[in-house]
Amino acid sequence: MKMIVAAGTPGSGKTSVLMHAVKDLLRAGHHPALVKIDCMWTEDDVRFKRLGVPVAVGLSRDMCPDHYAIYNFEEMLGWAKDQGADILLNETAGLCLRCAPYPDRALAICVIDVTTGPNSPLKVGPLLTTADAAVMTKGDLVSQAEREVFRERILEANPGCRIIEANGLSGKGSAELAELIAGWPDVSGEMVLRHNPPLAICTLCTGELRVSKEHHRGVLRHLDGFMEYTGE
Protein backbone atom coordinates (compact mmCIF):
# COMPACT_ATOMS: atom_id res chain seq x y z
CA MET A 1 0.00 0.00 0.00
CA LYS A 2 1.27 3.45 -0.92
CA MET A 3 0.20 6.35 1.24
CA ILE A 4 -0.11 9.94 0.09
CA VAL A 5 -0.90 12.84 2.41
CA ALA A 6 -1.96 15.99 0.59
CA ALA A 7 -2.07 19.17 2.64
CA GLY A 8 -2.50 22.84 1.79
CA THR A 9 -4.58 25.82 2.81
CA PRO A 10 -8.34 25.79 2.12
CA GLY A 11 -9.09 26.80 -1.45
CA SER A 12 -5.58 26.07 -2.70
CA GLY A 13 -6.92 23.42 -5.08
CA LYS A 14 -6.12 20.16 -3.26
CA THR A 15 -9.32 18.43 -4.36
CA SER A 16 -9.15 19.52 -8.00
CA VAL A 17 -5.50 18.55 -8.35
CA LEU A 18 -6.09 15.16 -6.67
CA MET A 19 -9.12 14.45 -8.84
CA HIS A 20 -7.04 14.83 -12.01
CA ALA A 21 -4.28 12.67 -10.50
CA VAL A 22 -6.84 9.98 -9.54
CA LYS A 23 -8.07 9.87 -13.16
CA ASP A 24 -4.48 9.40 -14.37
CA LEU A 25 -3.85 6.69 -11.74
CA LEU A 26 -7.02 4.83 -12.78
CA ARG A 27 -5.99 5.00 -16.44
CA ALA A 28 -2.61 3.50 -15.52
CA GLY A 29 -4.35 0.55 -13.81
CA HIS A 30 -3.89 1.56 -10.15
CA HIS A 31 -6.57 1.30 -7.44
CA PRO A 32 -6.62 4.50 -5.41
CA ALA A 33 -8.90 5.02 -2.40
CA LEU A 34 -9.44 8.40 -0.81
CA VAL A 35 -10.02 9.66 2.72
CA LYS A 36 -11.04 13.27 3.08
CA ILE A 37 -10.49 14.82 6.51
CA ASP A 38 -12.30 18.04 7.29
CA CYS A 39 -13.61 19.89 10.33
CA MET A 40 -17.29 20.71 10.06
CA TRP A 41 -18.49 19.91 6.59
CA THR A 42 -17.31 18.74 3.19
CA GLU A 43 -18.81 17.71 -0.10
CA ASP A 44 -15.50 16.82 -1.70
CA ASP A 45 -16.44 13.16 -1.21
CA VAL A 46 -19.29 13.58 -3.71
CA ARG A 47 -16.82 14.90 -6.30
CA PHE A 48 -14.45 11.98 -5.75
CA LYS A 49 -17.26 9.39 -5.81
CA ARG A 50 -18.08 10.47 -9.37
CA LEU A 51 -14.71 9.03 -10.37
CA GLY A 52 -15.84 5.62 -9.12
CA VAL A 53 -13.18 5.27 -6.41
CA PRO A 54 -13.80 4.26 -2.75
CA VAL A 55 -14.18 7.42 -0.63
CA ALA A 56 -14.45 7.89 3.14
CA VAL A 57 -14.92 11.11 5.09
CA GLY A 58 -13.64 11.91 8.58
CA LEU A 59 -14.94 15.02 10.34
CA SER A 60 -12.86 16.11 13.33
CA ARG A 61 -15.58 18.51 14.60
CA ASP A 62 -14.25 20.28 17.70
CA MET A 63 -10.82 18.67 17.47
CA CYS A 64 -7.79 19.70 15.47
CA PRO A 65 -8.21 17.95 12.09
CA ASP A 66 -4.50 17.20 11.82
CA HIS A 67 -4.36 15.57 15.28
CA TYR A 68 -7.46 13.63 14.31
CA ALA A 69 -5.90 12.45 11.04
CA ILE A 70 -2.60 11.53 12.71
CA TYR A 71 -4.03 9.05 15.23
CA ASN A 72 -6.40 7.61 12.61
CA PHE A 73 -3.83 6.79 9.90
CA GLU A 74 -3.73 3.11 10.81
CA GLU A 75 -7.51 2.87 10.54
CA MET A 76 -7.41 4.61 7.16
CA LEU A 77 -4.82 2.14 5.84
CA GLY A 78 -6.93 -0.78 7.07
CA TRP A 79 -10.03 0.64 5.40
CA ALA A 80 -8.19 1.20 2.10
CA LYS A 81 -6.92 -2.38 2.19
CA ASP A 82 -10.49 -3.66 2.71
CA GLN A 83 -11.52 -1.67 -0.38
CA GLY A 84 -8.95 -3.55 -2.47
CA ALA A 85 -6.92 -0.35 -2.94
CA ASP A 86 -3.17 -0.15 -3.53
CA ILE A 87 -2.90 3.61 -2.95
CA LEU A 88 -4.36 5.54 0.00
CA LEU A 89 -4.79 9.23 -0.74
CA ASN A 90 -5.45 11.34 2.32
CA GLU A 91 -6.63 14.89 1.73
CA THR A 92 -6.26 16.95 4.90
CA ALA A 93 -8.34 19.93 6.01
CA GLY A 94 -5.31 22.22 5.93
CA LEU A 95 -5.65 24.88 8.56
CA CYS A 96 -3.30 26.47 11.04
CA LEU A 97 0.09 26.01 9.28
CA ARG A 98 1.70 25.22 12.61
CA CYS A 99 2.15 21.50 12.12
CA ALA A 100 2.21 19.03 9.27
CA PRO A 101 0.39 15.69 9.38
CA TYR A 102 3.07 13.89 7.34
CA PRO A 103 4.24 10.40 8.44
CA ASP A 104 7.84 9.76 7.41
CA ARG A 105 7.18 7.02 4.84
CA ALA A 106 4.17 8.55 3.14
CA LEU A 107 4.50 10.80 0.11
CA ALA A 108 3.92 14.29 1.53
CA ILE A 109 2.40 16.77 -0.90
CA CYS A 110 1.88 20.44 -0.14
CA VAL A 111 -0.58 22.14 -2.50
CA ILE A 112 0.12 25.86 -2.64
CA ASP A 113 -1.72 28.65 -4.46
CA VAL A 114 0.55 30.98 -6.47
CA THR A 115 -1.86 33.91 -6.19
CA THR A 116 -1.19 34.11 -2.44
CA GLY A 117 2.06 35.88 -3.35
CA PRO A 118 5.77 35.10 -3.08
CA ASN A 119 5.85 35.52 0.69
CA SER A 120 3.43 32.69 1.31
CA PRO A 121 5.99 29.84 0.92
CA LEU A 122 7.79 31.39 3.88
CA LYS A 123 4.58 31.53 5.95
CA VAL A 124 3.31 28.01 5.35
CA GLY A 125 5.87 26.45 7.68
CA PRO A 126 6.27 22.68 8.17
CA LEU A 127 3.42 21.96 5.77
CA LEU A 128 5.83 23.02 3.03
CA THR A 129 9.26 22.66 4.60
CA THR A 130 8.78 18.93 5.37
CA ALA A 131 6.92 18.03 2.14
CA ASP A 132 8.40 15.81 -0.58
CA ALA A 133 6.61 17.71 -3.33
CA ALA A 134 5.08 21.15 -3.67
CA VAL A 135 2.23 21.45 -6.15
CA MET A 136 1.86 25.05 -7.39
CA THR A 137 -1.71 25.87 -8.44
CA LYS A 138 -3.45 28.78 -10.22
CA GLY A 139 -0.29 29.68 -12.13
CA ASP A 140 -2.44 30.76 -15.09
CA LEU A 141 -3.54 33.79 -13.06
CA VAL A 142 -0.06 35.30 -12.81
CA SER A 143 2.82 36.07 -15.17
CA GLN A 144 5.60 33.60 -15.89
CA ALA A 145 8.02 35.79 -13.93
CA GLU A 146 5.79 35.57 -10.86
CA ARG A 147 5.58 31.79 -11.18
CA GLU A 148 9.36 31.58 -11.34
CA VAL A 149 9.84 33.87 -8.35
CA PHE A 150 7.29 31.81 -6.42
CA ARG A 151 9.18 28.67 -7.32
CA GLU A 152 12.41 30.22 -6.08
CA ARG A 153 10.69 31.03 -2.78
CA ILE A 154 9.48 27.43 -2.41
CA LEU A 155 13.04 26.25 -2.90
CA GLU A 156 14.22 28.71 -0.25
CA ALA A 157 11.74 27.18 2.20
CA ASN A 158 12.37 23.57 1.14
CA PRO A 159 15.50 23.23 -1.02
CA GLY A 160 15.09 19.53 -1.74
CA CYS A 161 11.47 19.40 -2.77
CA ARG A 162 10.10 18.47 -6.15
CA ILE A 163 7.96 21.24 -7.64
CA ILE A 164 5.01 20.46 -9.88
CA GLU A 165 3.14 23.26 -11.65
CA ALA A 166 -0.47 22.13 -11.81
CA ASN A 167 -3.79 23.55 -12.87
CA GLY A 168 -6.91 22.18 -11.22
CA LEU A 169 -9.10 23.35 -14.10
CA SER A 170 -7.14 22.13 -17.13
CA GLY A 171 -5.46 19.15 -15.48
CA LYS A 172 -1.99 20.45 -16.26
CA GLY A 173 0.63 18.75 -14.10
CA SER A 174 -1.58 15.83 -13.05
CA ALA A 175 0.32 13.32 -15.19
CA GLU A 176 3.56 14.32 -13.46
CA LEU A 177 1.90 14.04 -10.03
CA ALA A 178 0.36 10.64 -10.82
CA GLU A 179 3.77 9.38 -11.95
CA LEU A 180 5.34 10.55 -8.69
CA ILE A 181 2.58 8.81 -6.68
CA ALA A 182 2.84 5.56 -8.66
CA GLY A 183 6.61 5.42 -8.14
CA TRP A 184 6.54 6.03 -4.35
CA PRO A 185 7.56 3.06 -2.14
CA ASP A 186 4.90 1.20 -0.12
CA VAL A 187 4.53 2.08 3.54
CA SER A 188 5.36 -0.56 6.13
CA GLY A 189 6.16 -0.91 9.83
CA GLU A 190 5.94 1.86 12.38
CA MET A 191 5.75 5.40 11.04
CA VAL A 192 6.64 8.59 12.87
CA LEU A 193 5.73 12.19 12.11
CA ARG A 194 8.23 14.41 10.29
CA HIS A 195 7.41 17.37 12.50
CA ASN A 196 6.06 17.72 16.02
CA PRO A 197 2.43 18.83 16.37
CA PRO A 198 1.77 22.19 18.04
CA LEU A 199 2.07 22.67 21.77
CA ALA A 200 -1.51 22.62 22.92
CA ILE A 201 -1.43 22.52 26.66
CA CYS A 202 -3.70 25.35 27.64
CA THR A 203 -7.08 26.15 29.08
CA LEU A 204 -8.47 27.02 25.63
CA CYS A 205 -8.10 23.35 24.70
CA THR A 206 -10.45 22.44 27.51
CA GLY A 207 -13.14 24.90 26.54
CA GLU A 208 -12.38 28.24 28.26
CA LEU A 209 -14.10 31.01 26.26
CA ARG A 210 -12.98 34.14 28.14
CA VAL A 211 -10.13 36.13 26.53
CA SER A 212 -6.98 37.55 28.24
CA LYS A 213 -4.27 35.82 30.22
CA GLU A 214 -5.88 36.13 33.64
CA HIS A 215 -8.31 33.37 32.65
CA HIS A 216 -5.72 31.01 31.21
CA ARG A 217 -3.29 28.45 32.61
CA GLY A 218 -0.51 26.42 31.08
CA VAL A 219 2.39 27.45 28.86
CA LEU A 220 1.59 30.91 27.53
CA ARG A 221 3.69 32.94 25.09
CA HIS A 222 3.55 36.74 25.24
CA LEU A 223 3.56 38.93 22.13
CA ASP A 224 7.23 39.76 22.77
CA GLY A 225 8.09 36.04 22.70
CA PHE A 226 8.44 35.61 26.51
CA MET A 227 7.08 32.24 27.63
CA GLU A 228 5.71 31.52 31.07
CA TYR A 229 3.93 28.73 32.86
CA THR A 230 0.98 29.62 35.04
CA GLY A 231 -0.99 27.13 37.06
CA GLU A 232 -0.51 24.45 39.69
Binding site: G117, P118, V142, S143, A145, E146, V149, S170, K172
Partner: protein, 294 residues
Protein backbone atom coordinates in the same frame (compact mmCIF):
# COMPACT_ATOMS: atom_id res chain seq x y z
CA UNK B 1 9.54 37.80 -41.83
CA UNK B 2 9.79 39.61 -45.16
CA UNK B 3 12.45 42.19 -45.92
CA UNK B 4 9.82 44.93 -46.19
CA UNK B 5 8.41 44.18 -42.78
CA UNK B 6 11.78 44.17 -41.05
CA UNK B 7 12.59 47.48 -42.68
CA UNK B 8 9.38 49.05 -41.43
CA UNK B 9 10.04 47.82 -37.92
CA UNK B 10 13.60 49.09 -38.15
CA UNK B 11 12.47 52.57 -39.15
CA UNK B 12 9.87 52.80 -36.43
CA UNK B 13 11.91 51.89 -33.44
CA UNK B 14 13.35 54.77 -31.54
CA UNK B 15 17.11 55.11 -31.33
CA UNK B 16 17.20 54.76 -27.57
CA UNK B 17 15.54 51.38 -27.41
CA UNK B 18 17.71 50.12 -30.31
CA UNK B 19 20.75 50.93 -28.22
CA UNK B 20 19.36 49.24 -25.14
CA UNK B 21 18.37 46.16 -27.10
CA UNK B 22 21.87 45.89 -28.58
CA UNK B 23 23.46 46.20 -25.13
CA UNK B 24 21.19 43.53 -23.75
CA UNK B 25 21.90 41.20 -26.63
CA UNK B 26 25.63 41.54 -26.00
CA UNK B 27 25.35 40.87 -22.31
CA UNK B 28 22.61 38.37 -21.85
CA UNK B 29 22.18 36.41 -25.07
CA UNK B 30 21.75 32.79 -24.16
CA UNK B 31 24.33 31.06 -26.30
CA UNK B 32 24.01 27.62 -24.76
CA UNK B 33 20.69 26.34 -26.03
CA UNK B 34 19.52 27.44 -29.45
CA UNK B 35 16.75 25.25 -30.76
CA UNK B 36 16.44 25.29 -34.50
CA UNK B 37 12.90 24.07 -34.86
CA UNK B 38 9.72 23.85 -32.86
CA UNK B 39 7.21 21.28 -34.09
CA UNK B 40 3.55 21.17 -33.06
CA UNK B 41 1.99 17.77 -33.71
CA UNK B 42 -1.79 17.96 -33.97
CA UNK B 43 -4.14 16.65 -31.30
CA UNK B 44 -7.90 16.96 -31.05
CA UNK B 45 -10.45 19.80 -30.92
CA UNK B 46 -13.09 20.38 -28.22
CA UNK B 47 -15.26 17.56 -29.62
CA UNK B 48 -12.42 15.09 -29.96
CA UNK B 49 -11.98 15.51 -33.74
CA UNK B 50 -8.37 15.59 -34.96
CA UNK B 51 -6.67 18.89 -35.81
CA UNK B 52 -6.85 19.58 -39.58
CA UNK B 53 -3.23 20.74 -39.33
CA UNK B 54 -1.53 17.49 -38.36
CA UNK B 55 1.91 19.00 -37.93
CA UNK B 56 3.62 22.37 -38.28
CA UNK B 57 7.31 23.12 -38.02
CA UNK B 58 8.49 26.58 -36.99
CA UNK B 59 12.07 27.60 -37.67
CA UNK B 60 14.43 29.87 -35.78
CA UNK B 61 13.90 33.56 -36.56
CA UNK B 62 10.27 33.13 -37.52
CA UNK B 63 7.32 35.09 -36.12
CA UNK B 64 4.20 32.96 -36.29
CA UNK B 65 0.68 34.19 -35.51
CA UNK B 66 -2.22 32.37 -33.88
CA UNK B 67 -5.60 33.84 -34.88
CA UNK B 68 -9.24 32.94 -34.32
CA UNK B 69 -12.35 34.08 -32.43
CA UNK B 70 -12.61 34.16 -28.64
CA UNK B 71 -12.87 30.61 -27.26
CA UNK B 72 -11.36 29.06 -30.40
CA UNK B 73 -8.42 27.56 -28.49
CA UNK B 74 -5.64 30.10 -29.08
CA UNK B 75 -4.59 30.26 -25.44
CA UNK B 76 -4.81 26.46 -25.15
CA UNK B 77 -2.39 26.12 -28.05
CA UNK B 78 -0.01 28.61 -26.42
CA UNK B 79 -0.28 26.65 -23.15
CA UNK B 80 0.55 23.41 -25.00
CA UNK B 81 3.74 24.99 -26.30
CA UNK B 82 4.60 26.58 -22.95
CA UNK B 83 4.48 23.29 -21.06
CA UNK B 84 5.87 21.17 -23.92
CA UNK B 85 2.71 19.07 -24.06
CA UNK B 86 3.34 15.40 -24.67
CA UNK B 87 -0.15 14.00 -25.16
CA UNK B 88 -0.81 14.87 -21.50
CA UNK B 89 -2.94 18.01 -21.95
CA UNK B 90 -6.64 18.11 -22.91
CA UNK B 91 -5.71 18.75 -26.58
CA UNK B 92 -3.48 15.68 -26.80
CA UNK B 93 -0.93 17.67 -28.84
CA UNK B 94 2.79 16.98 -28.78
CA UNK B 95 5.61 19.52 -28.96
CA UNK B 96 9.01 18.59 -30.38
CA UNK B 97 12.27 20.53 -30.24
CA UNK B 98 14.61 19.85 -33.15
CA UNK B 99 12.34 16.94 -34.04
CA UNK B 100 12.76 15.26 -30.64
CA UNK B 101 10.70 15.12 -27.43
CA UNK B 102 12.16 17.69 -24.98
CA UNK B 103 13.88 16.45 -21.78
CA UNK B 104 11.61 16.61 -18.68
CA UNK B 105 13.72 19.22 -16.84
CA UNK B 106 13.25 21.66 -19.74
CA UNK B 107 9.59 21.79 -18.75
CA UNK B 108 10.04 23.10 -15.26
CA UNK B 109 13.52 24.27 -14.30
CA UNK B 110 13.59 28.03 -15.01
CA UNK B 111 17.35 27.89 -15.47
CA UNK B 112 16.95 25.54 -18.42
CA UNK B 113 13.66 26.84 -19.73
CA UNK B 114 13.48 27.36 -23.48
CA UNK B 115 10.22 29.26 -23.36
CA UNK B 116 9.47 32.81 -22.22
CA UNK B 117 5.83 33.78 -22.07
CA UNK B 118 4.01 37.11 -22.03
CA UNK B 119 0.53 36.06 -20.93
CA UNK B 120 -2.72 38.00 -20.84
CA UNK B 121 -2.28 38.92 -17.19
CA UNK B 122 -2.35 42.68 -16.84
CA UNK B 123 -1.34 42.93 -13.20
CA UNK B 124 1.12 41.54 -10.69
CA UNK B 125 -0.22 39.93 -7.52
CA UNK B 126 3.12 39.71 -5.70
CA UNK B 127 3.40 42.06 -2.75
CA UNK B 128 7.01 43.09 -3.38
CA UNK B 129 8.84 46.12 -4.71
CA UNK B 130 9.65 46.18 -8.44
CA UNK B 131 13.40 46.09 -7.72
CA UNK B 132 13.24 43.18 -5.24
CA UNK B 133 10.98 41.18 -7.53
CA UNK B 134 13.21 41.59 -10.59
CA UNK B 135 16.34 40.73 -8.61
CA UNK B 136 14.68 37.57 -7.33
CA UNK B 137 13.47 36.67 -10.82
CA UNK B 138 17.02 37.06 -12.17
CA UNK B 139 18.22 34.77 -9.38
CA UNK B 140 15.58 32.15 -10.24
CA UNK B 141 16.82 32.17 -13.84
CA UNK B 142 20.47 31.95 -12.75
CA UNK B 143 21.20 35.50 -13.97
CA UNK B 144 22.92 38.54 -12.46
CA UNK B 145 20.47 40.35 -10.10
CA UNK B 146 21.85 43.70 -11.34
CA UNK B 147 19.95 43.12 -14.60
CA UNK B 148 16.92 44.48 -12.69
CA UNK B 149 17.96 48.07 -13.43
CA UNK B 150 18.21 47.32 -17.14
CA UNK B 151 14.72 45.82 -17.15
CA UNK B 152 13.28 49.00 -15.64
CA UNK B 153 15.11 51.27 -18.11
CA UNK B 154 13.82 49.20 -21.00
CA UNK B 155 10.27 49.02 -19.60
CA UNK B 156 10.25 52.80 -19.47
CA UNK B 157 10.81 52.98 -23.24
CA UNK B 158 7.59 50.99 -23.73
CA UNK B 159 5.27 52.88 -21.43
CA UNK B 160 4.45 56.55 -21.02
CA UNK B 161 4.20 56.22 -17.23
CA UNK B 162 7.68 55.66 -15.78
CA UNK B 163 8.24 52.70 -13.45
CA UNK B 164 10.43 53.19 -10.38
CA UNK B 165 12.27 50.29 -8.66
CA UNK B 166 10.83 51.33 -5.30
CA UNK B 167 7.21 51.00 -6.47
CA UNK B 168 5.17 48.10 -5.13
CA UNK B 169 4.28 45.75 -8.02
CA UNK B 170 0.62 45.73 -7.04
CA UNK B 171 0.13 49.48 -7.61
CA UNK B 172 1.42 49.42 -11.21
CA UNK B 173 -1.09 50.24 -13.96
CA UNK B 174 -1.92 47.68 -16.67
CA UNK B 175 0.43 49.43 -19.11
CA UNK B 176 3.28 49.62 -16.59
CA UNK B 177 2.82 45.95 -15.63
CA UNK B 178 2.84 44.78 -19.24
CA UNK B 179 5.85 46.96 -20.13
CA UNK B 180 7.69 45.48 -17.18
CA UNK B 181 6.68 41.92 -18.11
CA UNK B 182 7.86 42.46 -21.71
CA UNK B 183 11.17 44.00 -20.64
CA UNK B 184 11.66 41.21 -18.09
CA UNK B 185 11.26 38.64 -20.87
CA UNK B 186 13.75 40.43 -23.12
CA UNK B 187 16.40 40.83 -20.44
CA UNK B 188 16.00 38.15 -17.76
CA UNK B 189 14.06 35.29 -19.36
CA UNK B 190 15.84 35.66 -22.72
CA UNK B 191 14.64 32.26 -23.94
CA UNK B 192 14.92 31.12 -27.58
CA UNK B 193 11.16 30.60 -27.82
CA UNK B 194 8.87 33.51 -26.94
CA UNK B 195 5.11 33.19 -26.57
CA UNK B 196 2.98 36.33 -26.60
CA UNK B 197 -0.71 36.36 -25.77
CA UNK B 198 -2.62 39.39 -27.09
CA UNK B 199 -0.06 42.17 -26.74
CA UNK B 200 -2.55 44.64 -28.32
CA UNK B 201 -4.54 44.88 -25.10
CA UNK B 202 -1.47 45.92 -23.22
CA UNK B 203 -1.53 49.72 -23.35
CA UNK B 204 2.10 49.76 -24.47
CA UNK B 205 3.87 50.47 -27.77
CA UNK B 206 2.93 47.11 -29.26
CA UNK B 207 5.09 47.07 -32.36
CA UNK B 208 8.16 48.12 -30.43
CA UNK B 209 7.40 45.50 -27.80
CA UNK B 210 7.12 42.79 -30.44
CA UNK B 211 10.44 43.80 -31.96
CA UNK B 212 12.05 43.80 -28.55
CA UNK B 213 10.68 40.37 -27.71
CA UNK B 214 11.52 38.78 -31.03
CA UNK B 215 15.26 39.42 -30.69
CA UNK B 216 17.61 37.73 -33.12
CA UNK B 217 17.12 34.12 -34.09
CA UNK B 218 14.22 33.54 -31.71
CA UNK B 219 11.01 31.72 -32.46
CA UNK B 220 8.12 34.03 -31.66
CA UNK B 221 4.54 32.81 -31.38
CA UNK B 222 2.02 35.63 -31.07
CA UNK B 223 -1.70 35.27 -30.36
CA UNK B 224 -3.42 38.29 -31.83
CA UNK B 225 -6.58 39.93 -33.17
CA UNK B 226 -4.55 42.93 -34.31
CA UNK B 227 -4.12 43.22 -38.10
CA UNK B 228 -0.72 44.85 -37.84
CA UNK B 229 0.73 42.22 -35.51
CA UNK B 230 -0.90 39.38 -37.47
CA UNK B 231 0.71 40.66 -40.67
CA UNK B 232 4.11 40.96 -39.03
CA UNK B 233 4.02 37.16 -38.80
CA UNK B 234 5.24 35.26 -41.84
CA UNK B 235 2.58 32.58 -41.23
CA UNK B 236 -0.46 32.32 -39.02
CA UNK B 237 -2.31 29.34 -37.59
CA UNK B 238 -6.10 29.68 -37.77
CA UNK B 239 -7.99 28.26 -34.76
CA UNK B 240 -11.63 27.19 -34.60
CA UNK B 241 -13.46 25.19 -31.90
CA UNK B 242 -10.16 24.19 -30.29
CA UNK B 243 -8.70 22.96 -33.57
CA UNK B 244 -5.79 24.11 -35.77
CA UNK B 245 -7.81 24.40 -39.00
CA UNK B 246 -5.24 25.86 -41.42
CA UNK B 247 -1.99 27.76 -41.83
CA UNK B 248 -1.93 30.94 -43.94
CA UNK B 249 1.34 32.33 -45.33
CA UNK B 250 1.32 36.08 -45.77
CA UNK B 251 1.72 37.39 -49.35
CA UNK B 252 2.70 40.52 -51.21
CA UNK B 253 -0.75 42.10 -51.26
CA UNK B 254 -1.13 41.52 -47.50
CA UNK B 255 2.22 43.22 -47.02
CA UNK B 256 0.98 46.23 -49.03
CA UNK B 257 -1.98 46.42 -46.65
CA UNK B 258 0.47 46.12 -43.79
CA UNK B 259 2.26 49.29 -44.92
CA UNK B 260 -1.05 51.18 -44.92
CA UNK B 261 -1.97 49.91 -41.46
CA UNK B 262 1.45 50.83 -40.26
CA UNK B 263 0.97 54.45 -41.41
CA UNK B 264 -2.50 54.65 -39.84
CA UNK B 265 -1.07 53.27 -36.63
CA UNK B 266 1.69 55.89 -36.38
CA UNK B 267 -0.89 58.56 -37.14
CA UNK B 268 -3.14 57.29 -34.35
CA UNK B 269 -0.17 57.14 -32.00
CA UNK B 270 0.66 60.77 -32.81
CA UNK B 271 -2.97 61.80 -32.22
CA UNK B 272 -2.99 59.98 -28.91
CA UNK B 273 0.13 61.83 -27.83
CA UNK B 274 -1.37 65.16 -28.97
CA UNK B 275 -4.43 64.58 -26.83
CA UNK B 276 -2.36 63.40 -23.90
CA UNK B 277 -0.28 66.60 -24.08
CA UNK B 278 -3.43 68.73 -24.03
CA UNK B 279 -3.03 70.06 -27.60
CA UNK B 280 -5.72 70.56 -30.24
CA UNK B 281 -5.82 67.70 -32.73
CA UNK B 282 -6.41 69.60 -35.97
CA UNK B 283 -3.15 71.55 -35.64
CA UNK B 284 -0.83 68.58 -35.73
CA UNK B 285 -2.69 65.80 -37.50
CA UNK B 286 -3.40 67.27 -40.95
CA UNK B 287 -0.01 66.25 -42.43
CA UNK B 288 -0.40 62.66 -41.29
CA UNK B 289 -3.95 62.50 -42.69
CA UNK B 290 -2.67 63.50 -46.12
CA UNK B 291 -0.04 60.80 -45.97
CA UNK B 292 -2.56 58.08 -45.17
CA UNK B 293 -4.92 59.22 -47.93
CA UNK B 294 -2.01 59.10 -50.39
Amino acid sequence: MSQAVSQIIEENTTQISVQIIEQIKDQTMNQNIRPLTLTIQGGVDKDGHPDAVSSIEIARGEIIGIVGPTGSGKSTLIADIEQFAWGDTPSGRRILINGLPPAPELRSDPRKKLVAQLSQNMHFLADMSVGDFLRMHAKSRGKDPDLAERVITLANTLTGEPVNPAFQLTILSGGQSRALMAADIAVISDSPIVLIDEIENAGIKKQEALRLLSGEGKIVVVVTHDPMLALMASRRIVMKNGSMTKVISTNESEQKVFKDIERVDSWLAALRETIRQGDVVGDTASGATGEVAA
